[in-house]
């Protein structure tokens, strides 16, 4: 195809070219192929969820409800929430980039449990099937939070299939997390000590902790919901002795840490990008590494800040509020360290870096507004308003999706063996950043003005902000579609990528692009700390015994 093509012939077949049959993909145990299977699935769900959001935003263009029926609107925002949270954001980075990169970055040939890895994809797809059945069967109108007793006794929609779908997808998440944890513990290449691990691995490890320890609680909670809904036995029904707040405790025990399942992997990606494109070792490696673990652990102690006005004891609220402030510290550490990394770097403004810098901006806003919500009396006013909506979109959409896209661009040459078109990449990054802010910043204002969330029609004074928001959403939509188009295009037409186009230090860049099935011809030996970048563009890769050197020696 191009001048470099002949060079490929002397290589081992890459994981993509190893076999071409559908069976070789659907029954693969190769972590890289499984990562791609996930990528296809979650991309589909991203656009399904996005479609629902589009209709929601259009409906909100005018104060009165005139586009869809209220029932439909309620189902739309529920679909948007459920799909985006459980079928896009939670699996997004861990199952795609995580699956693809974790073994390579630590110099392993595969995940610790390759068959379990494939099984989790199938489990995910079965869960997704239930969710789709629930959607086709009439949808769900409870909101993604499934608050009782509405979900158990009042909603007439497909709550149970949806709950089963989420439960099943949850097990997929558990198995992915378990696999990553064991892989990190047991599969590291010689010389890959804990403090030589790329920060991506630290964050993925922290993410996996949450997946393994929080998800089962959601699973049991959904079982209880299904039982209650089927048999009307009063688990959460006050008329029969139950307590609806207990559901909220159990639900948020998972769902608050779940937010960190979404954002920690984003931090994982950004840590890699910032240092690589600054050509400088990351500032405060250990602080960033431990802050990931701290976020994961503290994340379990703050769930009650979703319940400050719920009727929870006010003493409990005080505890949850104070710890919520504490959880901001490790997040702040990361932001400060990323910023400090830029100092005296040699910064290139490639697409992944634009995404990473955008991430820091959006994450800062999202994180700081989180402090507003941790502040008890302010939360009383703005909880369940658009302020909250804006806040968590800044974290879960702004930050997490920007990081995901930044990561996809950064590792695209490794994944596909091709470069993405740089100009289009920059256009999409800037479009998304601007569109996002225009969409969600006005929602902070609408929220403080008092516009409740999940409203299908609203008081006229909020219209200005909603019009701005809808306008931003249309820009955002373009920004999201662009990468889909040009990345697919680049798979065939893109410039062929070299093994290490960014001059990066990680092990994944010391093997071929795309990597062979078992990642390395021989187990690499890790000889260096991560991120040994120099401002002149040179760097020390983590393994000096590169695949090709070994090959040469073998040949000689």
């Amino acid at each position: 195809m191009s001048a470099t093509a002949p060079a490929l012939k002397i290589r081992e077949p890459s994981y993509i070219n190893a076999a071409y049959t559908a069976k070789s993909w659907l029954l693969t145990t190769d972590h890289k192929r499984i990562g791609l299977l996930y990528m296809v699935a979650i991309t589909f769900f991203f656009f399904v969820g996005g479609l629902a959001a589009t209709v929601v935003r259009l409906e909100l263009l005018t104060p009165q409800g005139d586009l869809v029926l209220p029932e439909t609107y309620n189902k739309l925002f529920t679909v948007h929430g459920v799909i985006m949270v459980f079928f896009f954001l939670i699996p997004s980075i861990p199952t795609t980039l995580g699956n693809f990169l974790v073994p390579i970055m630590i110099g392993a040939r595969d995940m610790a449990f390759p068959r379990l890895n494939l099984a989790s994809w199938y489990i995910f797809m079965v869960g997704a099937l239930f969710a789709i059945v629930a959607l086709i069967g009439g949808g769900v109108d409870t909101g993604w939070t499934f608050y009782t007793p509405y979900s158990t006794g009042f909603s007439n929609t497909q709550v149970i299939p949806m709950a089963i779908g989420i439960l099943i997808a949850g097990f997929s998440s558990i198995f992915t997390g378990l696999n990553i944890i064991i892989t990190v513990h047991k599969m590291r290449a010689p010389g890959m000590t804990w403090f030589r691990l790329p920060l991506f691995i630290w964050s993925m490890y922290a993410t996996s902790l949450i997946m393994v320890l929080a998800t089962p609680v959601l699973a049991m909670t959904l079982v209880l919901i299904a039982v209650e809904r089927t048999f009307h036995v009063g688990i959460f029904d006050p008329a029969l002795g139950g307590d609806p707040l207990l559901f909220q405790h159990l639900f948020w025990f998972y769902s608050h840490p779940a937010v960190y399942i979404m954002i920690l992997p984003g931090m994982a990606v950004v840590s890699e990008l910032i240092t690589c494109f600054s050509r400088k070792p990351i500032f405060g490696y250990k602080f960033i590494a431990f802050s990931s673990i701290a976020i994961a652990v503290f994340g379990f102690l703050v769930w009650g800040h979703h319940m400050f006005v719920s009727g929870q004891s006010i003493y409990s609220s005080l505890i949850f509020s104070s710890i919520s402030f504490a959880v901001a510290i490790p997040s702040a550490i990361k932001v400060f360290n990323w910023t400090a990394t830029l100092y005296k770097g040699s910064i290139s403004w490639d697409t992944p870096m634009l995404y990473a810098l955008g991430f820091i901006g959006l994450f800062t806003i999202g994180g700081l507004t989180g402090l507003f919500l941790a502040t008890l009396p302010v939360d009383v006013h703005v909880t369940d308003t658009y302020f909250v909506v804006a806040h968590f979109h800044y974290i879960m959409v702004g930050s997490a999706v920007l990081a995901y896209l930044g990561g996809i661009h950064f590792w695209w040459p490794k994944i596909s063996g091709r470069m993405y078109p740089e100009w289009w990449g920059k256009v999409s990054a800037i479009t998304i950043f601007l569109g996002f802010n225009l969409t969600f910043f006005p929602q902070f204002i609408a929220g403080y003005q008092g516009m409740p969330r999940r409203y299908y029609a609203y008081a006229p004074e909020y219209q200005v902000m909603n019009v701005l928001s809808t306008a931003g959403a249309s820009i955002l939509a373009i920004g999201y579609v662009l990468p889909l188009i040009y990345l697919i295009w680049s798979m065939r037409e893109g410039e062929v990528a070299s093994d290490n186009p960014w001059g990066a230090t990680g092990l994944e860049w010391q093997t071929e692009s795309p990597p062979p099935t078992f990642n390395f011809a021989e187990t690499p030996i890790v000889t260096a700390e991560p991120y040994q970048y120099n401002p002149d563009g040179t760097f020390t890769p983590q393994t000096t015994l590169s695949v090709r050197q070994i090959k040469k020696e073998v040949a000689a």
């Binding site: 513990h185 000590t193 804990w194 320890l213 609680v217 707040l245 207990l246 405790h249 025990f253 379990f300 102690l301 769930w303 009650g304 319940m307 929870q312 004891s313 006010i314 003493y315 409990s316 505890i319 949850f320």
Partner: protein
Amino acid sequence: MTQQTSQPTSERTAHQAPALRTYYLIFLALMLLLALTVAVSFVDLGAFNELIALAIAAVKAVLVILFFMHVRYSSRLTWVFAAAGFVWLLIMVGWTFSDYLSRGWMR
């Protein structure tokens, strides 16, 4: 999160299993504890009934984990993994009950 250095030792210790006698002794202890907990349940000790019953259950569980499940003879990493679930369970219990127990303080 043990360091690399602990791994070789763990490999060696992983196959140290308790002697057969230990299994029988532990089984005996479990049976005695079972008898004890059933016996206590017939005595009204007020709030202590619950405390004792759960304490005995915890002791039994620890015996099973340490000996039957070989944690006593395993690497520190295994200890951490075995403890993690219970530690997080305690978080869930503690923080949830912090709400329920203090709800009546102010209405």
